[in-house]
């Protein structure tokens, strides 16, 4: 291989190559084996969004890993995420295999919770009803699920007394994303998929949400796939960062990141944090200019 050996850059370690399913010993939570997705295959406007994507996320005992995906716009990040979720039209892949816990993905399910970038609260349901929607689908008795729902509303930093019976249109963007995260986490999914969940939030709210997410993630112990355009966000949150190439996307580099030791705001001033951020930023700038 002509690739350079593993390289330490600030908080990050750039692996010499993206690990393949064969070389990881621990059980696999998610694995992609040579996955290609071509939209509108066979038609005049066919478009290959991702090509030959291979990676593996292992099942770290006792706690899931936090995976961040970075890459130029349009490189296929959402495509990868929605393939894991089993949502159409990304699912099924044109070729290759998408496996979750060793099983091929056949469709969406609550074991893979998803938080979308745009607000997808159900407009006709109150905050409490939104948060307990998944439990209602499981036919959990009303009293029990309302109690759990209130607990999660509280955990998300919302006010149980005043906010629980509001409708989504009465909430700010940050509050809506809190609701969206709560209704996903309340189901204790094995895998949490987040597609730029904080993309529409102002910087300060964003930092608060990052801290909150880290706290809750430790509690639920799930594997998180987190797509973002913010490199700082990725380095702060991620245990591992996947860097994607231009379209048709593949995974270019895999970085292992030291766990953050303090809050987002403090972390983002430390030199070793910034070193990793600048390394990734240079890479992405180069990719964007090579489009």
């Amino acid at each position: 291989m002509s690739q350079p050996p593993a390289q330490v850059i600030g908080m990050g370690t750039v692996l010499d190559h993206v690990r393949t399913p064969q070389e990881v010993a621990l059980p696999h939570v998610v694995e992609f084996r040579n996955v290609t997705k071509t939209y509108n295959a066979g038609k005049a406007d066919e478009f290959t969004a991702i090509r030959d994507v291979t990676f593996v996320v292992e099942d770290v005992v006792g706690k899931g890993e936090f995976i961040c995906v970075l890459g130029p716009s349009g490189c296929g990040k959402s495509t990868i995420l929605r393939s894991i979720a089993g949502l159409e039209p990304q699912h099924p892949a044109t070729s290759g295999e998408v496996l979750v816990l060793g099983q091929p993905v056949v469709g969406p399910g609550s074991d893979r919770g998803m938080v979308f970038q745009d607000y997808t609260s159900f407009d006709h349901l109150t905050v409490l009803e939104n948060v307990t929607f998944g439990l209602e689908c499981l036919h959990m008795p009303r009293k029990q699920r309302d109690e759990l729902g209130r607990e999660w509303i509280h955990k998300m930093g919302l006010n149980v007394g005043t906010d629980a019976h509001k409708y989504p249109h009465e909430l700010s963007g940050g509050m809506r994303q809190r609701v969206a995260i709560a209704r996903t986490l309340i189901l204790k999914p094995r895998i949490i998929l987040m597609d730029e969940p904080f993309g529409a939030l102002d910087p300060l709210t964003r930092l608060n949400m990052q801290d909150l997410l880290v706290k809750l993630w430790k509690e639920v112990q799930a594997t998180v796939f987190f797509i973002t355009h913010s490199i700082e966000e990725a380095v702060f949150l991620g245990d591992r960062v996947y860097l994607m190439s231009n379209s048709p996307g593949t995974i270019l580099e895999e970085l292992k990141i030291e766990p953050a030791t303090c809050s987002a705001n403090e972390m983002q001033r430390q030199p070793k944090f910034l070193e990793a951020v600048y390394y990734i930023r240079d890479k992405i700038t180069k990719l964007e200019s090579n489009k």
Binding site: L87, M114, F116, F122, H124, C137, H139, L148, R183, L193
Partner: protein, 318 residues
């Protein structure tokens, strides 16, 4: 000074889409009615020969309103209004009961939609004047033909509007429901239908107004002596040359329509508080009536899954 006041007034009145207070809105409406009445009075005042518009074309307001008690007592206005309303309501309710489930199914499953679209196409373009005699052939002279006429006139519209409303619900809500573990049936009943319901309701509310117009047509055809209803009354007055009565009925119909529409608007507000604010009385009522059914399902289907935690013991907000 004066011009600046005028300026301000003009700016205030001509601001694009500035909301008006309820009182002002009603005041403006009343002003319009008064203006029309004045116009009516002006062109029909004086002795019969000297009027701008002759009494045979348009009787004066005084002449018209003086007939009201006759219309009310001798011609049983309320009974006729109720007869007409009953026909529209039954026919329209049938159209809703058939059209909405079919429309929702078509909206959820494009194959069903493709299959039904020729029928919907025909139904929406059917010439009503030709349907009416057909209904009489099929259902005879009684009440049935009028009820079925309303049904046939509106069912295709109800179906296609319901289908459209379901198809217009953004796909991201379906994705969200699926990733929260909803089954297909749950996605339809808990997400698609409730999100489309306000649109369907609005469409039906408008259509009810149209159906109210259609029924006049059906009632104006007399085969047996039964009939009754506003349309039939108009027919009689026309034959006897009672212009005043006809004008009165023309004025009564919008009033009835207004009352019904306000009632429907109230129901709409109470059903969909997320769109219209308020406390959503009817929505709560619907949810409360569903509780026993829901509890039953919990009893039958719910198993505490291993992965779901019971409520933790850490301090909880009250």
């Amino acid at each position: 000074m004066n011009s600046s006041l005028l300026n301000r007034l003009l700016r205030n009145w001509l601001t694009l889409r500035r909301p008006v207070s309820r009182l002002q809105a009603i005041g403006l409406g009343v002003a319009c009615i008064l203006l029309c009445l004045t116009g009516w009075w002006l062109i029909t005042q004086g002795a019969a020969e000297s009027r701008l518009v002759g009494p045979l074309t348009l009787p004066s307001p005084a002449e018209t309103f003086s007939r009201f008690s006759e219309l009310w007592n001798d011609f049983a206005l309320t009974r006729n209004v109720l007869v007409t309303l009953r026909r529209v309501s039954i026919g329209f309710a049938l159209a809703l009961m058939v059209g909405i489930p079919i429309g929702v199914t078509a909206g959820c499953f494009p194959r069903v939609h493709a299959f039904l679209s020729p029928l919907i196409m025909i139904g929406r373009n059917v010439p009503l004047a030709a349907v009416l005699p057909l209904m009489i052939f099929i259902f005879g002279a009684g009440e049935k033909n009028k009820v079925m006429f309303i049904f046939v006139a509106s069912v295709a519209f109800v179906t296609s509007d319901a289908a459209r409303a379901i198809m217009d619900v953004s796909a991201r809500y379906i994705d969200t429901a699926y990733t929260l573990g909803a089954s297909r049936w749950q996605t339809i009943s808990k997400v698609l239908v409730p999100l489309a319901a306000p649109t369907i309701f609005s469409a039906c509310r408008q259509m009810f107004g149209l159906a109210f117009g259609y029924i006049m047509l059906a009632e104006s055809i007399k085969i047996a002596d039964e009939v009754g209803g506003l349309g039939y009354q108009i027919q009689i007055f026309q034959r006897r040359g009672f212009r005043e009565h006809i004008y009165l009925i023309i004025l009564v119909i919008p009033l009835v329509a207004l009352v019904i529409d306000q009632l429907l608007a109230w129901i709409q507000r109470q059903l969909f508080p997320h769109l219209y604010g308020g406390d959503g009385m009817l929505r709560s009522l619907v949810r409360v009536t569903l509780i026993p059914w829901e509890s039953l399902k919990s009893l039958v289907f719910y198993r505490t899954p291993a992965s779901l935690p019971s409520v933790s013991t850490e301090e909880r907000p009250k």
